[in-house]
């Protein structure tokens, strides 16, 4: 049986790991390789590196650190941020990343999902979605790496996840913006609504702050993985504590 995954997310800006609250007020939390090694030693199942400035600046992620990460850790990792073309993705995968994640570029050019899935296989293609509840529905947001450029799109989140999956996304990371950095729990209602729409792996993001939050995401919203940042960066919880707790709740985890 597949284990449920715990995935620390490292937001990268200018070669350092940073973390903001609700996508704002970024503070430096550490060195990329140091944190990557720490989390893989602690039992992380996968890491996501997200260059939060890349997409909104219109520049590509700096690739030098990707190879160093690939050489340093022995768990899979995903790189996100400003990947706009098949060639961008190829370069990142060639440097040793296991997956690439696209967000804003997929919204601008949905066919990019198909192109990448065809070229690299759907297992490499993750679609990240920033979503916020509004008047009883969920809507996709774009350019969330930069507060000044962040904007709502006309896309309903539930339509977009279905479209992304049918175009060849291998996995969806749903970042519930209302919850991000608040550590008040994942948006279980939103995750459940998305879960009902897709069969491909769904990763919850935004809001993890306590042991029960992880259990809720797996048991109530049936996600495949839970992504978290500040709760691990600030050592509120360790990955080991989260996994021990989940195991006691009957969730299959790798310990």
């Amino acid at each position: 049986m597949l284990a449920k995954r715990i995935i620390p997310c490292l937001d990268v800006r200018d070669g350092k790991v940073v973390k903001g609250v609700q996508f704002r007020e970024h503070e430096i939390v550490g060195d990329i390789i140091e944190l990557a090694e720490r989390y893989s030693a602690e039992g992380a199942d996968e890491l996501v590196f997200y260059d939060i400035t890349a997409s909104s600046d219109g520049r590509m992620v700096d690739r030098n650190w990707i190879k160093r990460v690939a050489e340093s850790i022995d768990i899979p990792f995903c790189v996100a941020g400003g990947i706009r073309t098949v060639d961008d993705a190829r370069a990142i995968l060639a440097n040793g990343a296991d997956k690439i994640s696209i967000n804003s570029p997929a919204l601008e050019t949905p066919a990019l999902i198909e192109e990448m899935a065809k070229e690299f296989g759907i297992q490499c293609v993750v679609v990240g979605i920033d979503s916020r509840e509004q008047d009883g529905d969920y809507f996709v947001y774009q350019y969330t790496g930069d507060e000044a450029k962040t904007k709502a799109t006309q896309r309903r989140t539930l339509d977009w996840v279905s479209e992304a999956a049918s175009r060849g996304a291998g996995e969806i990371v749903l970042n519930c913006m209302n919850q991000d950095g608040m550590r008040k729990g994942y948006d279980i209602a939103q995750l459940s609504a998305v879960r009902a729409k897709i069969d491909i792996p769904l990763i919850s993001s935004g809001g993890a702050g306590a042991l029960e939050h992880f259990a809720d995401a797996f048991i109530k919203a049936h996600v495949d993985g839970a992504l978290a940042a500040s709760v691990f960066h600030k050592k509120v919880l360790t990955i080991g504590e989260v996994k021990d707790y989940l195991k006691k709740q009957g969730v299959t985890v790798r310990i």
Partner: protein, 202 residues
């Protein structure tokens, strides 16, 4: 004192070699990525990595004149993921293609089952069948390892460890000096590292 292990990682042209090379380095192995038949023959251990489609991988090996070289190897050879699949006689992937045939059997697509998307991707546990095999020294039954694949070898008498997804399949196969590993030991944390170390110690 042990003889020094030299490891040849076969450059099949379709593999992501960075992570396999890095894993070998972490284990302190003297590894070289090569498509030179002489170097591959001379190495004390050979790893055949691979990602992508079976037919493309076989074409690359053919273009590099490596098919007969690999078939004739007598030292321990470890195929990883697609590298494992092409060790079998045939794969039904993309209309079917003949493979190296150094392990008996055929590769088939994992069956579809509700709630179990293909590819099978993530950490899954293995059931060790050949408990005395040197590859499993220090590896617990039920250990989790990292898989990414849509095709697999059915369980057979050459299965050393199996895994269960939409059907039971071979996680590790062994036949003579050829070992095939469906998962990615180089991405499977301590368990994967132990298996790689055990292979290098064989």
């Amino acid at each position: 004192m042990k003889n020094k292990t030299t490891l040849a990682i076969v450059d099949s042209g379709v593999a992501n070699l960075t992570s396999v090379m890095a894993a070998a380095k972490r284990l302190g192995s003297e590894a070289e990525i090569t498509s030179d038949p002489a170097k591959i023959k001379a190495a004390s251990k050979v790893i055949l990595p691979g990602v992508g489609a079976a037919a493309a991988a076989m074409q690359q090996l053919k273009a590099k004149n490596l098919i007969e070289t690999i078939r004739a190897l007598t030292q321990p050879v470890l195929g990883i993921c697609l590298g494992m699949q092409i060790m079998f006689e045939r794969s039904e992937e993309s209309g079917g293609c003949d493979c190296l045939g150094v392990i008996p059997g055929k590769i088939a697509r994992l069956p579809d089952k509700k709630g179990m998307p293909i590819p099978h991707m993530g950490w899954n546990s293995i059931s060790i069948r050949a408990k005395e095999h040197p590859l499993f020294k220090g590896v617990e039954d039920g250990s989790f390892v990292y898989f990414v694949h849509s095709y697999a070898a059915p369980v057979s008498e050459n299965t050393l460890a199996s895994c269960e997804y939409s059907a039971a399949f071979t996680a590790i196969a062994g036949y003579k000096n050829f070992i095939g590993c469906q998962f990615h030991p180089e991405r499977s944390s301590q368990v994967g590292q132990q298996i790689l170390q055990n292979f290098l110690d064989m």
